[in-house]
Symmetry: C2
Subunit: 433 residues, 2 copies
């Protein structure tokens, strides 16, 4: 058996410790599959004396992960610190410059700095791998890059943030309101004390930008992602959606449109009996639609020590076995700069919830506002009276251009009977059998 692959790990949180556990518990299996052992030689973390669920005393300790990246006796540096700049970026650059492979779980880093890092990896002839950055429990990077590598994709979409999916699933199941469920999720450790990164869609947007680059051969372009989080979805939306045959999910969607690429993260209504509808709790799921493969769907845990460590080890095994891939599937020079398609160009159906005064003629006025904008309605239903005596009017449209839809809602907002700004959720058709 050949020389071991030597690995240094920067960051000893749950994922770092999980990685040590996988490599320790399954050392024989990993070595048999790779043709050589994978051996941890060095670690770095903020606090050396913190109690951990793995014995790290036999590894060389570095207080400074950037120094470790340069100086450790290691073939690979595993970056588990996080953040798109600062230490994570510095150590990744230093490691590549020093001729070491890098494995990272850092979606922010890859989405925001990945294009440049890919070039640095190429210059050094080393691997920059990041399976753990997108849905750790789903080997989706490998699937898009290799398993489905002979396909041209029409779109890739999915439930990319476990915290949002947990909150939406719980709101749906319990009828409780957003703030209430968020607080519980924080108490249970499913949401951060500062939850905005998750619930405002930024985390999903990072992952979407990475998937988009891999699927469409484009330069990773996080700046162009349209992002809308889940703060404006209310308990009543789940009830109305259910009655209409839908469920509410936060999706990231990327695809080709008008010669450009769209990257949109926003809440969606999806068919209650179709794809992704049953993906609940903290699970992630991704659908890739390829010209030859058709619809290929993946579901697994999006985060957590075990799934993320499993993905980190998969990357390490590829490196140990000498299986090489370009960072974004093709050499950087072959990645194209695609035009970004704004969400105003979206064509699809919309769910609209209006809160209006309970007075005669409102239906007719709403109807004419939509007609004036040439928007055809599938249904318009008056729903519950609010405690304040106002009523909800729920509308489902046929397919319409988003900008046209926004014009109609802007007009509606001016209507005297309107108690608050109209609220809408896009309806996505995910296909089916």
């Amino acid at each position: 058996m050949s020389e071991p692959l030597k690995v240094a790990i920067a960051g000893l949180g749950t994922v770092g410790i999980g990685t040590i556990q996988v490599l320790t518990i399954h050392a024989d299996q990993v070595a048999a599959r790779c043709g050589r052992p994978i051996q941890i030689t060095a670690v770095s973390a903020r606090n050396r004396r913190r109690k951990r669920d793995a014995d790290v005393s036999s590894y060389v300790w570095f207080d400074d992960p950037v120094v470790m990246a340069k100086e450790a006796d290691a073939d690979v540096i595993v970056e588990l610190i996080g953040g798109s700049s600062g230490v994570a970026l510095d150590l990744t650059r230093e490691a590549l410059a020093a001729g070491r492979h890098v494995v990272t779980a850092n979606k922010a880093l890859m989405a925001e700095a990945g294009a440049g890092l890919a070039i640095e990896a190429e210059a050094s002839g080393k691997t920059l791998a990041y399976e753990a950055a997108v849905a750790g429990g789903i080997p989706i990077i490998k699937a898009l890059r290799e398993g489905l590598g002979g396909n041209s994709f029409s779109r890739v979409l999915g439930i990319l943030n476990g915290t949002c999916n947990y909150i939406l699933s719980t709101m749906d199941a319990t009828g409780r309101d957003f703030d209430d469920v968020l607080k519980d999720a924080q108490d249970l450790g499913y949401a951060e004390a500062d939850p905005s990164f998750d619930i405002d869609g930024v985390d999903a947007a990072h992952k979407l930008a990475i998937l988009s680059s891999l699927a469409f051969g484009t330069k990773v372009d996080f700046e162009s992602v349209y992002v809308e989080g889940i703060r404006n979805v209310i308990a009543k939306d789940f009830e109305y959606a259910r009655d209409l045959g839908y469920r509410v999910k936060l999706l990231g969607l990327t695809g080709e449109l008008d010669g450009g690429i769209y990257q949109w993260v926003h809440p969606c209504l999806i068919d209650a009996h179709g794809p992704l509808a049953a993906v609940d709790g903290s699970f992630n799921a991704i659908i890739a639609e390829g010209d030859f493969v058709g619809r290929s769907t993946y579901e697994g845990r999006g985060a957590g020590a075990g799934p993320t460590a499993s993905a980190v080890v998969a990357d390490l095994m590829d490196i140990a076995a000498g299986r090489f891939n370009h960072t974004f599937a093709v050499p950087s020079e072959d990645l194209r700069n695609a035009a970004s398609v704004q969400v105003e160009k979206r064509v699809g159906a919309y769910y609209v919830r209006l809160k209006v005064l309970d007075q005669a003629g409102v239906f007719a006025d709403v109807g004419s506002a939509f007609r004036d904008h040439r928007i055809s309605m599938e249904s318009i239903i008056q729903r519950d009276h609010d405690s304040d005596g106002n009523v909800h009017v729920v509308i489902v449209t046929h397919d319409v251009l988003e900008s046209q839809m926004m014009d109609a809602l802007e007009d509606l907002e001016k209507h005297e009977a309107m108690v608050e700004a109209p609220h809408f959720i896009r309806i996505e058709n995910l296909g089916g059998e």
Copy 2:
């Protein structure tokens, strides 16, 4: 760019033509990802003059695929002929012996002759790859072998045969009987003129044996698979199952039990709102349960030219890029001979349908038969009268050892009120959120 990877294709049915189409239409993408083009140099099929959806006139033609395997100017032979012996086996052996890689879509070959072929591939230092052999639309071989390669699995299970799933889904949706739906499936081309390979579970068993070897590091062992097809599921079973909160699926299941490995293919009742329940039509789906990754689920088309060709090309891309894997993830000498666990050792719940004379005391007699065998019932319900005046009694048991269950059914069969042999379907708990 390096020298092209030269490929010869044996078998020009829909998958062979699909493979040519992928490699032609996506030639640039494939080359960019692999660092070299993939070039078809030779083909072989039974009828040279048959009209095909791809122009094969520029490739060297071989009447004999075995001769092509030895003599073609090719680095890889793609075997798309089928069958576990005969020409497919001969050409695979010849190709490996001649120092060529082999890519095959042949599940029968890999399940029945794979262990020996893996040794021959090792002797020649070449790749024997077969992503297309199991659920072409799902890169599950790559996932088990690489993406989830750091996990130890508790079980792997799935809907592995599209024909059966189409028939069961259609029976469920329409209330029609098996023979009737099978005939339609044959007319539509979803089932073969001789359908036994699919509907008796042999095809699913081939795939299960391959998945089992990859997941558990065992020598592929098709002979030990317990196989039960879908011929005995009647229209009423879907109705009763639905009322009980279940759906009916043909599953292949493999896992560790009592220090051995089970490999079972049989119809199952599964939770109507849980995993796999919504997988309808000709789709396949597979769940892998790993110790670190947790539950990871895959869904896609099981067959058809496009998905299968997509999988063939993925294997070719790995070879072109120099990404190597052992045939069954580890060297043959590291594969273990696991004890096969018989289905009599299964512990689980059962759905039992009895057809009995409509007479007093039958419930009590059934109840005591189960009690005598220490089987606890969750429910016992009298259902519809048949046209012949007999009644259906439907029982759901709590978990029980299969051999105990079979003893009880054997006793019940002797009961004077029993109009026909008891029918049972195993109830599988696939977990959930």
